[in-house]
Amino acid sequence: MLKIETSKNSNYTTIKLIGEVDASNSVELDEAIVALVETDTKNILVDGSQLEYISSAGLGVFMSYIEDFNEKKIGLVIFGLNEKVFHVFQILGLDQLINIKSSKEDAVMEL
């Protein structure tokens, strides 16, 4: 089960992922990101504090936007990942490609 909550602040939008991202629902994550890009969001924070699981289907969504976001100068910061989930990002070295912070405060400072 995955629930995605989006909330807008003055200079960033937060996507909160609640539950599990796998091959059955990664398209929902993709759609949430596309919707933000279409509304000209310049800074995206991903709140992973309630993300219990992510498989390659979900990681692939983030991967597929790294280049586009660099070109379009869209900021993406993920924060709050639990240890197990963070390890999965680490196995692939995604922590070197994506800005990952432990707290929301740290994430906001990156923008």
Binding site: D22, A23, S24, I91
Partner: protein, 139 residues
């Protein structure tokens, strides 16, 4: 030796059942919570690939998963009768290449190979068997 079995119908929505099945078994091993999580992920990746690519998400078809805990070794056997996918022969892409190509796929098998200690694949008649092994520390 303990053996656990699960018949998984080929729908991606069933992957959460698979994870619940594995999590319960792995709890009773010497693997750390992080390692348990990773092994579950590796099996999810192999099964998701089979469900989507070999079985076209046809819910009338199924794959069989069996888990055995032997002395010092966890063995997970995934059997199906779809188009065989030989994970051991597959050359996975480089991460940088996946990023550049803006691909959404290709990461799963990298994860499986990094997480598991040994992987075997064999086809016999119509049946494909993928075996994933993880060494268990003695408790």
């Amino acid at each position: 030796m303990m053996k656990y079995e699960l018949k998984l119908y080929c729908e991606t929505s069933r992957l959460s059942d698979l994870r619940n099945f594995l999590n319960k078994i792995l709890q009773d091993t010497s693997l750390s919570e992080i390692e348990q999580h990773q092994v579950t992920l590796a099996v999810d990746e192999v099964c998701a690939n089979l469900i989507i690519h070999s079985h076209g998400c046809n819910s009338n078809e199924s794959i069989q998963i069996s888990v055995e805990k032997e002395k010092g070794l966890l063995k997970i056997e995934i059997t199906d009768s779809g188009d065989g996918f030989n994970i051991t022969e597959y050359v996975e892409p480089e991460i940088a290449q996946v990023k550049k190509a803006k691909r959404k796929g290709g990461l799963g098998i990298i994860l499986v190979k990094k997480i598991m200690d040994k992987i075997e694949f064999e086809t016999s008649g119509l049946q494909n068997t993928c075996r994933l092994f993880k060494n268990l520390k003695s408790k």
